[in-house]
Every structure is written in C-alpha cells, then in structure tokens.
Amino acid sequence: MGAEVSDIPWGLVLILLPLMGGMACFLWPRVTTMLGLVTVFGVALSVAGLGWQILENGVYRHAVGGWGAPLGIDLYADGLSLLMLTATALVGLGVSVYSAAYFRREDATRFWPLWLFLLAGLNALFLSADIFNLYVTLELMGLAAVALAALTGGKDALGGAMRYLLAALLGSLAYLLGVALLYHGFGTVDITLLGQRVESGPVLWAALGLMGAGLLLKTAVFPLHFWLPPAHASAPAPVSALLSALVVKASFYILLRLWLSIFGPLVGEEGVDTLLGLLGATAVLWGSVQALRQTRLKLLIAYSTVAQIGYLFLAFPLAAAAGVTAWHAVIYLAFSHALAKAAMFLVAGNLLRFGGHDRIADLDRVVQRLPLTTGAFALAGVSIMGLPPSGGFIGKWLLLEMALAQGRWDLVVVMILGGLLAAGYIFKVLGRAFTQAEVTHKSRAVPACMEWAALLLAIGAVLLGFLAVPVLSVVGIGDPFGVSGVRP
C-alpha cells in the first residue's frame, strides 16, 4: 500500500483535483461549500504527498503526454515550487475554513468555483516549466482573481476589479509578447532548455523588458502598484487574503524563475538588478508611508502589501555577491508574508463583520470584543514588522546580514526604515485595542472558525521563525538557485 501511495502522481492531482472540484461546485451549487472544503483538504494532502515524494526522490518532473520538452510541456517541481505550493495550500486551507462561514448561500455558489479554479491555476503555475504554459496559468489565475475581486459588487469593487483586470491583461500581454520573441529567437518555450540556449542580444533584452515589465506590473511593484490597493481593499475579506497572499506572489515566482534560469546569468553588470533593487526600496518606503496614512484598515493592509513586496526585490542587487542566501531570504519573506497577510485580511474581515466598518479611528469599539482576532492581527503584525522570532524576522535578518556584509548601506537604511514604518502602521491599529469605549451600535457575531482561521495563520507566520533550517533545506532541493546564484 505504501508503495502505491508513493506512486500516485501527486503533482498532477494538485492540478486536476481543484479543476474537478471547481466543476463539481459549478454543477452542484447546493453542496458547494462542502465540495470546496473537501477539495481544498485534498489539495493540502496532495501537497504533503508531493513533498514527501520530493524529499524521497528529489526533483519531480512529468512530461505531459509523454512527449517531453521542447515538443511537449513539462511539469517540474523542485524545492522552490514545493515551498510555494505549501504556502498556497496553507493559506488556501485557512481561507477556505474561513470562507465556509463567511459566505452565505448565494455568495458561496459564486465564490467556491472561482476560488477552486484559482487554486488550480496557482498550483499549475508553480508546477509549470514552460513559459507559454505559464502564460495560460497566469491568465487562469488572473481572470479568477478579477472575478473574485468583483464579488461584492458596488462601485468600489467593480472599479477596483476593472482596474485590476486591465492591469492584469496589460501585464500578461506584455509577457506573451516576450514569450513570442523568446520562442522565435531560441526555438523553445521550456525554461530549462531556454536557459541553455539563450544568448545575449536584442531579442533577449526586448524579452526581458516585456516580460519583466509585465510581471512587475502583475506583482504590483512600485510604481506599478496602483491597481493593487483598490482591488484588494474592496474585495471580500477572504478574497483579499488570497490576492495579497498568493496571487501577487505567483507572478513574482515567475519573475524569479525567469531571472534565475534565463535572464540573470546573461544581463549586463549591475544594471537590471540595481533597478529592481531601487524599485523595491522605493516600494518599501512608499508603501509603508502610504499604509501609515490610511484611515481604513483594508487599505492599510493593502498598502502594507505594496511595501512588503518591495522587500522581495531588495534581494536582486544583493544576489550577485551573496548568491543563494539572498534567494533564501526572499523565499522566506514571501512565505511568511503570505501567511501573515492572509491572517491580516481575515482579521479585517472579522472586524468588518462585527462592527460593520473598517475605519481605524473607530475600531476601538470593535477590537476589544474580539480578542482572538486582535491577537491574530498582533501576531501577523510581528511577522510583518520583522520582529523576532517570526518568519519575517528570519527573512529580514538574512537580507540585512547580506546588505551589511556587502556594505550596501542604502538598503540597510531602507530595511530599517521599512521596519519602523511597519511598526507604525501596525500599532496604529493595535493602539485602538486598548481604548475603553462603549459599544454603541449593533454588532454581528463572528463565528469561531473565522477567528481561529485568522489566528492559526498568524501563528503559522510566527512559528515559521523557528523552522528556517528545515524549510531552507527543502527549498534547496533541485538547486533552484544554482544557475545564477553566483554570477560567474
């Protein structure tokens, strides 16, 4: 039996199961919540199965249709993919449990199929090793995300979703043109093969420009972050959690993969990576300052996402000299941010449900009544601020260490300032938790599972701080950072 379990192609289950689940939800709307939950649990189990396989046998590769690259499409999972899949599964689980209580019947029938397709898109994206296939998954994910963002209806949500859709389309079209150029230039769309075949030249530069800009737009890097706050702030809370925690990370993942395997080794000295670092630094500062200025909680969290994404890009200028450690830091930051940010948006959802608004200045009436929720926000905040011993701390520690070792004082200052500003906006909210005020308006009860979902995700973000050694050793499977880890 054990042998059979290990033979199951878990990677494929990861894609097919949510697809089937989504279609099932579409066909049987009456039991949609149950179908959705079962599917998501199944996906989580499959990630565990895949993880086990990868730990046992190393890198997972599957030639779809038996053709193999370059003719066919390869699925590929190394430590990096596994980590992203794990993050997806964990956040997905939390959000799903939350959503089961959050959405009422009518909304549930709309939410679940879209979310399961989004999950399928994410899983497919993290498993793909083919840049055209990545485009398709990107669109799958993008359309699902837009539809989810528009779920609440109303002016704000629709406007936000529209903006999001246009940005997403612009980004993916730019990416697609880059794919076209790369294919016609080097005759393949498989990442590994491309990595072997590419050579520097106008085609590569143009492709980098197009794909880079497209993915940066989708990742919402400053100054291309404009679509993110309205979209994330006006979506329903679980959707915001998914968008901030996972969707943005997915396009970053593609960018990272492309950089590591295709572009990184070939581009000129200290050009692109400096630019990316600069964008990241600006994003950190700008996003944090904007977050600090917000008067509504969800916008604050959304701008915090802008800032936290900035951190991911600080690794690019450092990677040339520091190699693998820089990417470790990035991966760790992305992972812990996914958990923490999901928790934060869920918290915002709880507060919204309880108090009917998310104006920070009036939160004091709400926060005290939901201690678990407040605790979740605080714990998630610990990770966002990068305070020890959270996952965010490990990431920031690694980044800081490298920046100091390389004498990059500019980045050091940015990171420290970013942390301080983060503390500013986190405590802007938490400070309300202790003001004594009467509850003057009617409030709606918040189901326990909604509170616990947020809390568990936040605890996860903090616990990550203790798991750095195993997690980073898993990430190293398949040597995803080997190619451009150190510039020759």
Binding site: P9, L12, L16, L19, M20, G22, M23, F26, L27, H62, A63, V64, G65, G66, W67, P70, L71, G72, I73, L75, R110, P113, L114, F117, A120, G121, A124, F132, N133, V136, T137, E139, L140, L143, A144, V146, A147, A150, L151, G153, L177, L181, Y183, H184, G185, G187, T188, G201, P202, V203, W205, A206, A207, G209
Partner: protein
C-alpha cells in the same frame, strides 16, 4: 489629455522602434519545432499539425484554456450580468435569416470539427461557428426552456473541460502519463475530446454573449 498625448508619443515610438529592432535581429531562417512536429505526426493520431500540437503535444495548454473559457463565464455570471439587452421583437428579415442560417452554421461547425483532423479547422473554429449560431438565436429572442437552464446547460458548459479532465485521468490511469493517448486510439480519443470541446465552446460563447445567468427554476 492632449498634453499627455504628446508626451506619450515619443515613448511609444521608442517602444515600437525597440520591438522592431528586436524582431529584425531574429534569425532569417529557423525551423522552430516544425521538424520535431513533423517527426511525431504519425503517432499523434491526426494529420493536421496544428491540431496535433493543440490536442496532443500541448494538450495540457488546451485543457487549461478550456478552463479559462469556463472561468470567464463563471466570472460573468458571478457579476450577475448587465441585462442591457432589449427584448424587442426581431424584424422579419432577421427572423427568417436566423431560421435559414442556424442549421447551416451547425452543419459548418460539424464539418470544421471533422476536417480539423487533417486540415485547418478543429474544435475552436467549429465552436466559434456554433457560438455564432447561438448568438443569432439569442438575437432573435430564442431562449432555453426553463427546464434546461439548470443542470443540462451546466453539464454542456462543463462538457469540454470535463472531458479533458476525465481524459487526463483516464490516460493517467492507463499510461501513467498525463494526456498520453495510446497511439492506436489517439485519433478517436482526440475526436471525442474535440466534439465535447466544440459543444462547450459554442454554448459558452453564446452564454457569454447573453451575459446574465439564465434563471434556474429553483432560484429567483
């Protein structure tokens, strides 16, 4: 706005020039994957290379793409539709035209589907034609009978991606490889998939045109 236009123009020109430069720097002559496609044509089960790529070599893309289409419909439905169509009675010309064209279109679709195996054509083309027929019908005011809008409609919409997924699982169980058709049955299986896909695509396009979700019997 106008002021912006002049600022943007040089930027766009630079973009166009850059892209053009990149295109011109491509090699004059290259095979791409054509050789490889040609080599594998015998085992693909079809003789039209595009169909072979779409449904066999890169069938996984097509699977996801069917899902994208379904997803778009889901998105549109979840928005609740805009309901801007006026339910005016069509003129007699349109009515007659529709009566004449729809059967023709369905026939054309069937032909395209069949011919796709060895010549340009295939599920997408056929589906589009089918969709056009649906649009025409919708324009003349034809609606599904309420009894058909719930389960049956959904089943047809899901048929395309569903067939793909089932095929994927089936091949996985048989060949231990996703979407690896047994060479002998490849042609038949592909045709089966294409038929389901055509149906789904046609109906989905029509449904997208309609915009709103057809009223179920049960819900209001």
């Amino acid at each position: 706005m106008d002021r912006n236009r002049w600022l943007v123009l040089p930027l766009i020109l630079a973009l166009a020039v850059g892209l053009g430069y990149a295109v011109l720097s491509l090699p004059e002559r290259t095979d791409g994957l054509q050789k490889m496609v040609a080599d594998k044509m015998e085992v693909s089960g079809v003789s039209n290379p595009v169909t072979a790529v779409l449904l066999n070599f890169r069938g996984y893309d097509t699977l996801l793409e069917m899902v994208v289409l379904l997803l778009a419909l889901l998105g549109v439905w979840s928005l609740g539709g805009a309901a801007l169509h006026r339910e005016a009675a069509p003129g007699p010309v349109l009515d007659t035209l529709a009566r004449l064209l729809v059967p023709v279109l369905i026939l054309v679709a069937a032909y395209l589907l069949w011919v796709g195996a060895h010549a340009p054509g295939g599920a997408f083309q056929a589906g589009s034609v089918l969709g056009a027929a649906g649009v025409l019908l919708l324009l003349v005011g034809w609606r599904l009978r309420p009894g058909l809008t719930a389960w049956p409609l959904r089943l047809i919409l899901v048929a395309g991606p569903g067939a793909f997924v089932i095929m994927a699982i089936f091949t996985l169980l048989i060949e231990r490889q996703l979407l690896e058709y047994p060479p002998a049955q490849a042609g038949a299986l592909i045709l089966l998939l294409e038929t389901a896909a055509t149906l789904s695509i046609g109906v989905t396009l029509a449904a997208l045109f309609l915009g709103e979700r057809p009223q179920d019997k049960g819900s209001k």
